[in-house]
């Protein structure tokens, strides 16, 4: 069971994540968007969306530092585990709260604004549930585990982080996760489930962050595509799984 949960599941999820993105990019460039609902409602979106997204950016950065940087490195810098923890909590809690509150506003908006709710697919709802659970469990781990220290102290940088790195080094140390508190286990499992869903949901928009905009010239000139059928409005059917709007009902 330990091997299944902490070795097989992560590898399967990561494989789906990578292959899924390649597949989706090749077959559904047209659907590669997050289908903005700003046209329907913008008052709540203006508060919720930046709150959630900037919060998430902070959360992701915190995870990169906490999971990727080994404890010995920060120790070598003269940063004691305790001092590191204080810094991590100081940065992590505001970011996490922003993401959670933002997400709550966005989900509230999605549920209560008629047109936005109508534009929400089952796919979206499942994704929001998993995403919400992952964020909530993460907050729980931080607040209950690290801040209030329910059930004793747990240093994830000697457990979860080592396991996480070991996956990418192809020497998975499943035992470390089996010993971790339940909150961390659930958080990790759901996060991998989210990774597996990722390429098939609107989350793909994360990978179209327009960094190139900063360096490209303002105006783009392009030549007509001379290949037959290209550039004349004919497009091969591309959505792999999504039925066109007209046939969905």
């Amino acid at each position: 069971m330990t091997t299944f949960l902490w070795v097989i599941v992560p590898y399967v999820c990561l494989a789906v994540f990578v292959v899924g993105h390649v597949w989706r990019y090749r077959y559904d460039k047209f659907g590669w968007t997050t289908r903005s609902s700003q046209l329907y409602e913008s008052r709540l979106l203006r508060i919720g969306s930046p709150l959630f997204h900037f919060g998430m950016l902070g959360v992701v950065m915190g995870h990169v530092i906490g999971l990727v940087v080994p404890q010995v490195w920060t120790n070598a810098l003269g940063l004691s585990p305790h001092a590191y923890h204080v810094i991590a909590l100081a940065g992590g809690i505001p970011a996490g709260v922003a993401a959670l509150v933002g997400l709550a506003i966005l989900v509230y908006r999605r549920r209560t604004t008629g047109p936005v709710f109508r534009a929400t697919t089952v796919n979206d709802k499942v994704m929001y549930a998993v995403l919400g659970a992952v964020v909530a469990l993460g907050m729980w781990n931080t607040v209950a585990g690290s801040l209030l220290q329910f059930g004793g102290e747990y240093n994830y940088r000697e457990g979860v982080s080592v396991w996480f790195r070991s996956i990418f080094l192809f020497r998975p140390e499943a035992g470390l996760m089996a010993e971790a508190p339940l909150g961390f286990q659930l958080h990790a499992l759901l996060a991998f489930a989210l990774f597996a869903m990722w390429p098939f949901t609107r989350l793909v928009h994360v990978f179209s962050a327009p960094i190139g905009y900063l360096t490209r010239p303002y105006l783009v000139y392009r030549s007509k595509d001379p290949r037959p059928g290209r550039g004349t409005g004919n497009r091969a059917p591309q959505r792999g799984w999504d039925k066109p709007e007209l046939t969905r009902k």
Binding site: T33, R35, L39, H205, G212, L214, Y218, K224, P226
Partner: protein
């Protein structure tokens, strides 16, 4: 000098009767889909009026286009860093209410209603929320000055002259303004796109959205000061007027032009110097922008321009088409067409001949001769309000160019009346506006009589060249073995056949520009190939209908 070709349009506003045929046919062709119910690539607004979306010209509110800051051209809504910082929620995007909430009617009630005393009513239902709505705004709610006291007074273009404009219905002036995407030389929508999905085509300057690259960030909608990029709320992608490029590529005009009842649209090429665009868009004074924009165009009669055009890879027939271009004639030769809102500094490529009718109407109503040149000149002089209003639309508020154009139109009216009535033409009339009789007659011909082939001078795209180049590598060897026959390697091998759509387009083009079907040249391969899709109701082509004898049997 870097010569580029641009497909451009001129609309003669005096001829627009506000029938919305262009809007409807455009919608049927391009935006009759879920997600684009509220989208009108072509719309016709009554001016003075709010336009569509409501009050889109108020750039303090919507932040579209470019501004000059410290001598440099910048996007009004902010540069690249600001755009990325605001990417999670675009603060300056019109909501669906600013366009209008599209609706349909509950027709089912009409069919399913039981027998009853009163007639059943089909209530309007929103296409956005699906709920019953009270329709209170639309794309042309203030059509024909409807509710002008409430709406037209808020027209952003009345700023500065609002106290002088009388909004009493019988005393005001009015004209129609059909609008499509301007296909600008310096498009701020393209500059605003974080994904780089909006591009300008090198060959003909048409601005398009690459649907596969668009990621739905919505910055283009803010960037376009004309609000002519729309958000498809079903696909989450931006969509805009395509200048009907599949039609233009085979040499026929856009749907809006083709179906225009008043025949007020002209399509043709202009050549311009791409190196000068930025410089012209950066001139200090808004009032100089019209002249600066004229300075960007190149004269295809100039041998050096033609040499450079050839060097830039513009085909000879395109340069020839640029020489015959009605757009070039109206913009550069006669100088009666003006750009819409040059102050946005996007260098729009759909130009307008301002309407003389507000002036003519006033003169006529006072009982004076509305075709007498002195009366008209006097009226242009005294009727400052329509002239100032037109200047706000077409020359960033500079009255002088509008004045000149209106005088030319007035002079033409007067000059041509003499000719039509068989009197001696008075050469002092064209001279008063700096023209010669011959030129004035030419202008009259183009504005009043020009036929299909003169209004639309559209050289087909050179897709065949690309194909010919491919043939060098692939088809020569085939012809070396099989004498160039098709299908040597089985069915479908060899050169691709002409797609049906293209063939139908060509037939349409031929029949539209011929006076009768019999006029098609005898060796024309399309002769006798009229089908139901291409038949326009004229004549009875062979083989389309059963003969009387066959029908009798």
């Amino acid at each position: 000098m870097r010569v580029m070709a641009q497909m451009a349009m001129v609309m003669n506003l005096d001829k627009c009767i506000g029938c919305h045929t262009c809007s409807v046919t455009c919608k049927q062709a391009w935006t009759n889909r879920a997600g684009t119910e509220y989208v009108w690539f072509n719309n016709v607004e009554t001016r003075p009026g709010l336009g569509y979306p409501r009050g889109y010209e108020d750039q303090d509110e919507w932040m579209g286009g470019w501004v000059l800051r410290n001598g440099r051209l910048r996007l009004r809504a902010g540069g690249r860093l600001k755009k990325l910082a605001l990417i999670f929620s675009n603060p300056k995007m019109p909501s669906i209410q600013d366009y209008y909430e599209p609706w349909t009617y509950d027709y089912e009630t009409l069919l399913n209603a039981p027998a009853q005393k009163t007639f059943p009513v089909a209530r309007p239902h929103s296409l956005i929320s699906g709920k019953p709505i009270n329709v209170s705004w639309s794309a042309n709610w203030d059509d024909d000055l409807g509710g002008s006291r409430e709406h037209a007074v808020k027209d952003p273009m009345l700023k500065g002259i609002e106290d002088k404009v009388r909004m009493e219905f019988e005393k005001t002036f009015m004209f129609y303004l059909p609008r499509i995407c301007e296909h600008c030389l310096n498009p701020s929508c393209a500059a605003s796109c974080p994904s780089g999905a909006i591009y300008k085509r090198e060959e003909d300057g048409i601005v398009l959205v690459d649907q596969d690259r668009c990621r739905g960030w919505r910055m283009c909608i803010t960037g376009c000061p004309y609000k002519k990029v729309y958000f498809n709320h079903k696909t989450g992608k931006a969509e805009k007027c395509t200048f009907c490029y599949p039609r233009i590529e085979v040499g026929i005009p856009t749907v809006c032009s083709e179906t225009c009842v008043g025949r007020l649209r002209y399509i043709g090429l202009v050549l311009y110097d791409a190196d000068k665009v930025l410089e012209a868009a950066t001139v200090e004074d808004d009032h100089d922008l019209y002249e600066a924009q004229l300075g960007v165009f190149l004269d295809p009669e100039d041998p050096e321009v033609r040499r450079e055009a050839e060097a830039a890879g513009i085909p000879a027939d395109w340069v020839e088409a640029a020489r015959r271009s009605p757009v070039k004639k109206l913009i550069l030769d006669h100088r009666v067409a003006l750009p819409l809102h040059p102050e946005y500094r996007t260098m729009p490529m759909v130009w307008y001949i301002p309407p003389l009718s507000p002036v003519v109407d006033v003169v006529k109503d006072t009982g004076h001769d509305a075709e007498d040149v002195d009366n008209l000149f006097g009226a242009i002089e005294t009727l400052r309000i329509p002239v100032e209003y037109l200047a706000n639309l077409f020359t960033a508020g500079d009255v002088a160019p509008v004045d000149r154009v209106l005088r030319k139109l007035a002079a033409m009216r007067s000059y041509m009346r003499d000719i039509n009535l068989g009197r001696d033409p008075r050469d002092e009339i064209p001279a008063a506006v700096g023209m010669e009789g011959e030129q004035m007659y030419e202008m009259f011909r183009l504005l009043a009589l020009a036929k299909y082939s003169e209004r639309y001078v559209i050289p087909p795209a050179h897709a065949e060249q690309a194909h010919a180049l491919e043939e060098l590598a692939t088809e020569c060897s085939v012809s070396a073995y099989g004498g160039g026959q098709q299908d040597v390697f089985g069915e479908g091998s060899g050169a691709a056949p002409t797609p049906v759509a293209v063939e139908n387009f060509r037939v349409l083009q031929q029949t539209q520009s011929a006076d009768s079907l019999e006029e098609l040249p005898g060796d024309n391969p399309l002769r006798g190939r009229v089908n139901l899709l291409t038949w326009d109701g004229r004549g009875m082509p062979d083989g389309l209908f059963p003969s009387d004898q066959e029908a009798a049997r």
